[in-house]
Symmetry: C2
Subunit: 108 residues, 2 copies
DNA sequence: CCCAAGCGTTAGTTGACTCTTACGTTAGAG
DNA sequence: CTCTAACGTAAGAGTCAACTAACGCTTGGG
């Protein structure tokens, strides 16, 4: 999860993901969309690939990249855990309010 | 979204979130859980707060922190957009397969 | 008013990250 | 086999992020 978060925390890498999402593209096509040098994009692609966010497929001398949405599953679950936690905390707060209101008559 | 991603990409900040999730804690209590200095934690708390991930509440000389789960909404939507995109891409792939199979009889 | 508790802020250092330039590698054309 | 296209990799420079040490700022107690 660490690698995925670090990967998508970078603005340029998010742009790459946006490009590749929807269409498999070659490294060259991706690099052509930016004003930085090709090696810079290549390094970003390596980071995204190592994080499992991008998948590489070789075709002759070209390398095609596509997004691997499953890679986001862990992060999604992590974020949702905070949502669940906040619901639980709210529930606990309400119950202790009730205990205080009823005063000495806790549920359970 | 950038700030939120940068904030949660840091391991120590995720530990802080895990601590604070479920119980409102003071800066001192949080700092006591780590082996780094208190100012370091204070800086992390500032970053989390500026990202909107943490909310600060003052009580006398103490400062209490709690998680703000709404802050994750944008990131969640972003991640889910990749899921949707991949479904769309799959759908398009299937349809073009059909077009190729039926051969000159495209749907619509 | 004076002091201590509880924090945040600043300055400076170290390590990590992003970029460019230069070079290495592999696949296919001729 | 040689050449070129399409890449990745390595080395170095500049920038940013995380930490420590030292200091400053409030709040409440005596």
């Amino acid at each position: 999860m660490e690698a995925v978060l670090k990967a998508i925390a970078e603005p340029r890498r998010r742009e790459i993901l946006r490009l590749v999402s929807g269409a498999e593209l070659t490294a060259g096509e991706i690099a052509a969309s930016f004003d930085v040098t090709r090696p810079a994009i290549s390094q970003h692609l390596t980071i995204l690939r190592n994080a499992g966010v991008l998948e590489e497929r070789r075709e002759g001398t070209r390398r095609l990249y596509r997004v691997r949405p499953e890679a986001f599953g862990e992060v999604r679950a992590y974020l949702e855990s905070f949502w669940d936690e906040s619901l639980l905390a709210l529930k606990n707060a309400v119950e202790s309010d009730e205990r205080r209101a009823i005063s000495g008559n806790p549920r359970n």
